[in-house]
């Protein structure tokens, strides 16, 4: 097989002319203004959320998350130039990351997060009982065996 050492020099292929530079800068400043407006809207909502009665609502949460993802998209596609990269590079960067992140968010909030929240007291019954016993003893004011009072509670957990 013929050996070919004529590998493209990608570093110098990125160099562009002054005219192209003007266009690129115009695009970058437009992205900056969009991001600034989004941030100001977010802050405006954040400062007024109590008076508008939005604190803690699902609508507000999704509004923020959508704004955040839009901003992240602008950073990655415009500032990090991923939009101008080869389509294979774009996919090899985005697809594994996005699939992992979505699965993680699904686990943390929808499945595992909700299960452990709703079954908090089933998960560590021993610890809960132990704490309850200490609490009751303290309320009653009875705590026999001052010298090894702490150890006794620790041992009852095993």
């Amino acid at each position: 097989m013929e050996f070919n050492d004529n590998y493209p020099n990608y570093e110098t292929m990125a160099i562009h002319s002054e005219e192209e530079g003007v266009k690129v800068r115009k695009k970058l400043w437009r992205v900056f203004w969009i991001m600034l407006v989004i941030t100001l809207v977010e802050l405006g909502i954040g400062i007024n959320q109590d008076s508008w009665g939005l604190t803690g609502t699902l609508l507000l949460k999704f509004t923020y998350i959508i704004f955040t993802i839009v901003k992240a998209g602008y950073i990655v596609y415009a500032f990090m130039h991923l939009g101008d990269e080869n389509h294979l590079m774009r996919k090899v960067i985005l697809w594994p990351y996005i699939s992992f992140a979505l699965y993680l968010v699904y686990m943390a909030t929808i499945t595992e997060g909700t299960y452990t929240r709703d079954h908090k007291y089933l998960l560590d019954t021993q610890l809960v009982q132990q704490k309850q016993k200490i609490r009751e003893d303290a309320l009653k004011g009875k705590h026999g065996g001052e010298e090894h009072g702490g150890d006794e509670h620790k041992e009852s957990g095993h």
């Binding site: 949460k61 993680l104 686990m107 943390a108």
Partner: protein, 238 residues
């Protein structure tokens, strides 16, 4: 041999039409992004567990430097966000100047990026200082002294890894770990920026014939900004 950009890979070229260094900067950033995603997912998980005790961020972060006692929720963190977005813009302008081989432009824009980075790190240190010291009123907690078995009541101020006057202590733990890890990234980004700036000033990029090093450090810097966008949303807004 002509090097038309390959649509699909046919050998003799990078399948990603990119230099080795840039591809691996991206791979590093993916792994770093996974770390931050895991940390933020863990934050979301625990926040989901304790909806009733979780502090409302605008009640925690409402201070502004030199204005003691004012209630200005989110204004300071808004300023920090602006500084970081602005430094991201100056960084991308430095990259663009590098594509035109404009040494002077690269130096000016990288200098402003470094100024923005230091401003951000300093702001974060101030924010930590306020959070650790807490409010004048503080909070009272009752707990059982395990040695004596007696109820004890004391007043404490601010937050650390053990207590948090504003609510659930996990909020403080995640705040310190995640913003600390992010601040560490900003700090190291500033250091790398300074090194690359010195290389540019010394003419190392001109000798190489391209400014791709600026582009690579720029990728890292934008990533730091990207993480802050998420940290800002999850810690200060939601």
């Amino acid at each position: 041999m002509a090097h038309a950009k390959p649509i699909d890979w046919g050998g003799n070229a990078s399948p990603f039409a990119s230099s080795y260094g840039k591809i691996f900067m991206w791979f590093f950033l993916i792994s770093d992004a996974l770390t931050f995603t895991s940390l933020l997912a863990a934050y979301g998980f625990h926040r989901h567990q304790h909806p009733e005790t979780w502090p409302v961020p605008s009640d925690v972060f409402h201070h502004f430097p030199f204005l003691h006692g004012t209630h200005a929720p989110l204004w300071y963190v808004g300023f920090m966000t602006f500084v970081l977005i602005m430094s991201s813009v100056t960084m991308v302008l430095a990259v663009e100047a590098g594509h035109r081989k404009n040494k002077k432009g690269v130096i000016i824009w990288m200098f402003w990026t470094i100024v923005g980075g230091f401003t951000f790190v300093g702001s974060q240190a101030w924010e930590w200082y306020i959070f650790i010291n807490g409010s004048d009123a503080g909070a009272t907690r009752d707990f059982i002294n395990y040695e004596t078995g007696q109820w004890v009541s004391d007043t404490f101020h601010g937050a650390n890894l053990h207590v948090n006057e504003y609510g659930n202590k996990l909020f403080g733990n995640f705040f310190f770990v995640i913003t600390g890890f992010h601040g560490f990234h900003v700090f190291s980004g500033v250091i790398i920026n300074i090194i690359v700036l010195l290389m540019v000033v010394n003419g190392a990029m001109e000798r190489r014939g391209h400014y791709e090093m600026v582009e690579k450090v720029g990728l890292y810097w934008h990533f730091v900004d990207l993480v802050w966008v998420f940290v800002f949303t999850f810690f200060y807004l939601l």
